[in-house]
């Protein structure tokens, strides 16, 4: 009998506990819902400028100043006009070529230097590493004047090479890759050496595949950086044929001045490729950004 009373007490008290736990949980859930809604609203606000840019690029002039996001009469006329004279195609191609070549160069050279500084033991290694690292402190803006003079002297003004040469290697990339090669075990490299591979082969076919995620992170950063680069291409190019997308877009927008639907179309063309790449490889890119941000 005593046992049942005890049991009852226990049951009663535990149900009271559960009940109060329930209110806490309900309150917490309400807090969680509010938090979610606020964060989501903030996120939607963040992409609004992009949404208006896109929506306006599909609008006729009469609708441009309306606040509706879905065009009443969607049109491709703006795209036809902007792409019509072929200039944007040329700028798009220039940007693609320059960003791609620069990315390849960085992936190869930054990793080769990072690998050498990490896995080889020789006198002067630290001096080379610190010298390269110290260039991180030099802002591009300090170098544009000497680069311009150099380009003038060697006839690089207004050429693809002239736009590209300052970015072919970056200290950031060297540092990033050196960090990642630390995680490649020396035994792997030694085994390959015993198998008779030379040092170039070891770097390329043994070490490089092991740091693929880091290479991808580096590639993303370098590509995005060169795709959006503005001040140096603005300085080094003269003829419209050599412009990159950002420089071309500036010129185009100044010409249009009040035709905002055309300016929005140009802007959309220049940001859509990177936005699409992001949407396709989201997880991967975010991981890369974290890697590059924290280790670099």
């Amino acid at each position: 009998m005593a046992a049942t009373t005890d049991e009852l007490t226990v049951r009663a008290s535990s149900s009271a506990l559960l009940k109060s736990g329930g209110t806490v949980r309900r309150l917490r859930r309400r807090g969680q819902t509010i938090r979610w809604l606020l964060l989501f609203a903030g996120g939607v606000a963040m992409v609004m400028p992009l949404a208006y840019m896109l929506s306006t690029s599909f609008k006729f002039p009469f609708e441009v100043y309306e606040l509706n996001l879905i065009p009443e009469e969607p049109t491709l006329e703006n795209y036809a006009y902007v792409l019509g004279d072929g200039r944007f195609m040329q700028w798009f191609w220039n940007s693609t070529l320059i960003a791609t070549l620069t990315t390849i160069s960085n992936v190869l050279f930054d990793s080769l230097v990072g690998y050498t500084l990490c896995k080889f033991d020789f006198r002067g290694r630290n001096v080379v590493f610190i010298a390269i690292l110290s260039t991180l402190m030099i802002p591009t803006e300090m170098l544009v004047i000497p680069w311009y003079l150099m380009s003038q002297q060697f006839g690089w003004l207004d050429t693809t090479w002239g736009i590209m040469f300052p970015g072919l290697m970056t200290a950031f990339g060297v540092f990033l890759m050196k960090q990642f090669f630390e995680s490649v075990p020396d035994d792997f490299l030694e085994a390959a050496r015993i198998d008779g591979l030379n040092e170039l082969q070891i770097w390329w076919s043994v070490a490089m595949p092991l740091v693929r995620p880091a290479l991808a992170a580096l590639a993303i950063f370098v590509f995005l950086g060169n795709w959006t680069a503005f001040i140096w291409p603005l300085i080094v190019t003269n003829s419209q044929d050599m412009y990159t997308l950002p420089v071309g877009l500036t010129t185009f927008s100044v010409e249009q001045s009040v035709e905002w639907e055309l300016i929005m179309t140009g802007a959309a063309i220049s940001v859509l490729p990177t936005l699409l790449v992001f949407l396709l490889f989201q997880r991967f890119i975010i991981r890369g950004v974290v890697m590059a941000g924290l280790k670099g």
Binding site: W36, L39, F40, G43, L50, L67, I235
Partner: protein
């Protein structure tokens, strides 16, 4: 080594290499891997840096002769009221931009860390602007800032019956207006880095705090923020350097009057660009770049100092 051809031509080099110890061979490999990069860093980084410093002591309009003028360029700079205005603007970008973006990014990251439902999607929404180009977005925002009936913001204000704001045409509003898209575009990156920093804090700290019944405010100020210090220092320096070098946004939002109205948005980099490539006063522009370099140097050294104190 008895080979008579040793020491002459390609074969000589090869056998010389073959004669090296294993260690010696690796040293040769290392330097041959570094050869091209070393040429690059000397020719495209170190030599231009020295050259910029050199030009800052000269008077040169790109066409005529280069003449030594000693510290004249620096003296002109110190006496130039535009320079002081520009320096003030540059630090205003930094002093408004860095705290605003860091606080916003931290609040978003801190809250988003507690959310599971559609976590990835929300994160993507905040991150998307980071993938855009400053030039394109400067034009989008420039359109938003136009007066009625053109600009989106003023149209919105008009719909709610609020008086208009002269975003880009007012000397007091133009600078924050130009800054806003820069903060907006960089926010996603900072959120991602903050979230990685938050993840790195061991869960046991929070569990212990919960058992002790510590309030969530105390958890924030006593656990989360102190343990985030390396992340915060990194982001402060990274974004400070970014705001001190602001150019693309200003250039594109004020093309009709670069740095205007009345130099109220002009940052140091725009002054450098104008002096060098519109007035072709290379020496004076180089002196300005040296000042920029020194400012960035001090900030980078501060970061090293702060991280070492940890």
């Amino acid at each position: 080594m008895s080979d008579p051809r040793t020491g002459s031509g390609e074969r000589g080099v090869v056998s010389l290499f073959a004669g090296l110890s294993l260690r010696g061979k690796r040293v040769v490999w290392a330097w041959s891997f570094l050869a091209v990069p070393i040429v690059f860093y000397v020719a495209v980084r170190f030599y231009p840096t020295a050259n910029a410093a050199l030009i800052s002591f000269q008077d040169w309009n790109l066409l005529g002769e280069r003449t030594w003028t000693g510290l004249d360029n620096y003296a002109t700079l110190l006496a130039d009221p535009v320079f002081w205005k520009v320096l003030g603007n540059t630090f205003l970008y930094l002093l408004i931009g860095t705290p605003t973006s860091l606080v916003l990014a931290f609040v978003v990251a801190w809250q988003l860390d507690k959310v599971r439902f559609l976590h990835g999607t929300i994160r993507a929404l905040y991150f998307l602007p980071f993938m855009t180009s400053a030039v394109a977005m400067a034009w989008v925002w420039r359109w938003f800032y136009q007066p009625v009936p053109i600009g989106l913001f003023n149209n919105l204000l008009a719909t709610f019956g609020i008086s208009q704001i002269a975003f880009l045409n007012s000397t007091s509003h133009a600078l924050p207006s130009v800054l806003a898209p820069a903060v907006w575009a960089g926010l996603g990156f900072q959120v991602i880095i903050f979230m990685a920093g938050l993840r790195a804090i061991p869960k046991t700290y929070y569990e212990a705090a919960h058992i002790d019944g510590v309030s969530s405010w105390t958890i924030l100020t006593e656990i989360t923020l102190p343990l985030l210090k390396p992340t915060i220092v990194f982001l402060v320096v990274f974004s400070s350097i970014g705001f001190l070098r602001i150019f693309d946004h200003v250039f594109n939002m004020t093309t009709n009057n670069p740095g205007g109205p009345l130099n109220s948005t002009k940052p140091l980099v725009l002054m450098i660009y104008d002096t060098a490539f519109n007035s072709f006063d290379m020496g004076y522009a180089a002196a300005q770049t040296v000042v920029l370099f020194l400012i960035l140097l001090v900030i980078s050294l501060l970061q090293l100092r702060l991280l070492r104190d940890r």
